[in-house]
Symmetry: C3
Subunit: 387 residues, 3 copies
């Protein structure tokens, strides 16, 4: 049937249009994140200030029952950028194929919407090692007690380099949650391999074209648990890279209004070994965070996305996080710096649409960081709206 | 209640979705401005032509009765830019708090939508001195005969400079309208202070880091009452700025189909006084404009925004404007040029969505302007659509 | 009447809002094109890979019965760009005036949506010579057996050069279709003239300003029937251009499930003749393509847009195309290269929203092409979603 009536509703603060038979659903939405930050005790002079951290327009569609599409465009910083832009075929209620530009299935924070991450910013570990959104395909499935996703990815949005085949990555996440009704327990493993293709440079020496292969670099870097001050205090570039391999372990445990979440990520860059001194580069990081619902009942779990659900409207949440990211590899003589940071936070889930965050963070950097050893503090706040 | 039916309506040519109880309202919209300009008698060779002056997509939302949000993205010139992007809490029907990226409350034209300004372009005075949209918070309230707004603002969208705390501005507008039924009378005052923070530059002299403070500049400049030709004929840069202070007086008077509107703006840049010859820089400008509704009844007034209301669909309006902007400060030996321009206009409000403008302008520039003394004319036209 | 109820429907997979009297209609939509390409036998090392070829947000409106507006913003490559952004006044059901940013009426493929073109990419001939979207006005009308459009255009979106009046173009397309019920026959002619204005450069020699006129260039170039590899293998720049003139012939013939389509384009650049050796530059190209509906019934025709209609959902289409583009002008001693390519394709119109394409192309380049003579193959695929 080519014409059907759509019912227009507001559901949890969001616009929904749907046919009665559920074959067609459409949604439009948007978000605004407004941040402010003040930095204290900074040796490196940090720029306190404010920003529109995120502004987005979103179109969602379900058509012909099984096809989902999402077009989410970001406008932070005054530039347009593609966020989730994908097409999905729902095989059944517990599995789907997806193609497009979306988050690689690796760990908890990397795959989580910035609307629901606990602190204002990713842990610096996840920021340093996250594969982010890339263009690819994935297969996702979940059951009563597990979640599994496998994806094959190219690069981000476009193949920008002409004289080089695009890098590719293969990424998978497996989560098992033995129970998540009264109490919640969740274990997960993620792994990703990504090729680093060499670049072919063609030169004309007068007698004809000759082509040489040039190796490329891999870079890991991370902000100091903030975004308004944009400098990366830990930053490493590994030359002559051939591929990279990352491995993540994740855990969630919750009981009533108390929750624990932790991730550990190991990364290895395989380096072309021209000389005996050339060694593969290894880096790692981890965070542990604790949540306590002062108001709002108990923590709940969502098996479909394999993470804690967003607390109910009206909830008030206290948070603490310890995070360490180590980009120094003494063995390979490559030192990108080491960052330890401790954060305390409070989040008020005002209603389905509005949310306020207050974060305090202490950052401790070692002698290999941007301006050497230093220790500073910051207070940050966010006013968040989404529909 | 988490699910509610929305009624879908077109209201004055715009899409509205609302629950019956008024707790939720959503709107989507857009606009297109198409301009053409022909320049005559131009000594400086001006580029006649056409442009998409503005193209926008807009999402609006009212949720949980008191929370308003607006996401308005502009795409003119082929780049995305944030326009009004804010979250607002309506305290009652006569006051609100607002946070986000929006126009600082300073004067009439600066705070007016480009959909309803009388001529195709701002007066060059307002263009030169307007604070524009910045990221901040404001409190607005209005009554039967007054409007008052107070805002605290950072910089535009992002804190782009890392090694400097963001500038801030405090801005306020107070309007009194003793009567605005049959006849309309409106007086207003606006003031704004804005800091100009110095930049810290860190240098490593081999023995350790030393940091030096560098002062920054303030720039005022203005187009020649047009936009297709983009050059600024008057333009001043004041170095060693420490802060700037602006002061505006505004007046509206209308009776039946005749309206008068005028603004006067004074600006002062406080300069760091290293030498006795260093003096603060002062500039000023004003405009007076007259409107006559050939068709469309009488002018009406809107206390909530403290300005004349948009004429009814079908109206035909004749306009005249005299404008003078003086960026020369003989006392401080800084001369940015002086521009006098006279404009005549005609606007046809075809319906709620479509509007056509025809403007003639004569521009007279003094010897300190871009290419010295000159006098030229232009005819400009706009076809405007919004919903 | 200022308030009217809108009915919300999904029609052929797209959202439609309309009043019962048809005076107001609104639509929102979007699209995602996801491409992948693999290149074989390439002497020039081509970058196989994938990309989000197109991502768009669209608002459409019909207001007060006769006014249509369209705002279509593209986000491919992570930048915002204006696509169709125009206002249209429908004179009657068979003619309209249009103003804004839209495709000049020249030939079949140039005026066709990328949602419905047969292959994944334009023929290289159309890509090389197409005027594309520009800012202008047009008058379109069509009857039972004809279509005619005439447009006057400036440049693309903005007049970017200050010291030069904008170029203008005048373009027209005339199509006659003697019959298009059982069998389809269509002949068309298109022509376009475009000025190439010189640039005025002002210089101050110390005694006053003097201005010199500088001529400009015209450039034609084309990708190798692909987009992921972005290099243009044929590319010509004609200096001292004064104007350009293009002429196109088009033909469509179809019977049942078999269709034939062809275009031939001639282009001439009029060159300023300072020396007797200066000659006008001429280039040309053509393509022929065949379609066969393996499933999906017969080809249909649409007189309003003067082209074949999109096949029905569920259709499976086989395609073949021969294309030659010759940018060499031996007479004028300007050689931009010559490209011959042969493509085979298969398109599955899954439903109104989803479409899949598979294309094979062999490209043959002459000695004047980017890296000289070469011959390579490619396989490309697209997953397309639109609503």
């Amino acid at each position: 049937q080519d014409v059907n009536d759509l019912k227009l509703r507001v559901e949890k603060g969001s616009i929904q249009m749907a046919t009665d038979d559920g074959q067609f659903k459409f949604g439009i939405g948007g978000r605004i994140f407004m941040d402010a930050a003040a930095y204290f005790d900074d040796k490196t002079d940090l720029g306190s200030g404010s920003e529109i951290r995120d502004a987005r327009l979103l179109f969602k569609a379900t058509v012909w029952k099984n096809w989902d599409a999402k077009i989410n465009i970001g406008f932070d910083g005054g530039n347009a950028s593609l966020k989730d832009v994908f097409l999905q075929y729902n095989i059944n209620t517990n599995s789907f194929f997806r193609a497009g530009h979306f988050l690689e299935p690796f760990g908890i924070e990397q795959t989580e919407s910035s609307k629901t991450i606990k602190f204002m910013n990713f842990s610096s570990t996840v920021e340093a090692f996250r594969p982010g959104r890339n263009l690819g395909v994935s297969y996702d499935r979940w059951g009563k007690n597990y979640y599994w996703a496998l994806g094959l990815f190219g690069s981000d949005v476009n193949n920008t380099v002409s004289n080089q085949d695009e890098d590719f990555g293969i990424t998978s996440r497996l989560v098992v949650s033995p129970f998540h009704k009264e109490n919640i327990m969740h274990f997960g493993l993620s792994g990703t391999y990504r090729s680093v293709n060499s670049v072919t440079v063609e030169t004309n020496n007068g007698y004809g074209y000759s082509s040489t292969e040039t190796t490329r670099s891999v870079r890991y870097r991370s902000r100091a648990a903030t975004h308004i001050e944009g400098r990366r205090f830990i930053d490493v570039t590994v030359d002559n890279a051939e591929s990279q391999l990352k491995f993540g372990i994740e855990m969630i445990a919750a009981s009533g209004p108390v929750a624990f979440q932790s991730e550990l990520i190991n990364s290895k860059v395989n380096v072309k070994k021209d000389y005996s001194s050339d060694k593969d580069y290894k880096a790692k990081g981890w965070y542990m965070q604790f949540g306590f619902l002062l108001k709002g009942g108990n923590y709940k779990y969502n098996m479909k996305s394999a993470r804690l659900a967003k607390p109910e409207p009206g909830s008030l949440e206290l948070l603490a996080r310890v995070n360490e990211t180590d980009l120094n590899d003494e063995h390979a003589f490559i030192r990108g710096g080491k960052q330890k940071d401790i954060s305390l936070g409070c989040t008020w889930y005002v209603n389905h649409n509005v949310l306020m965050k207050l974060n305090f963070t202490n950052v401790d950097l070692d002698e290999n960081a941007l301006n050497g050893e230093e220790n500073f503090n910051m207070i940050q706040t966010r006013l968040q709206f989404s529909f």
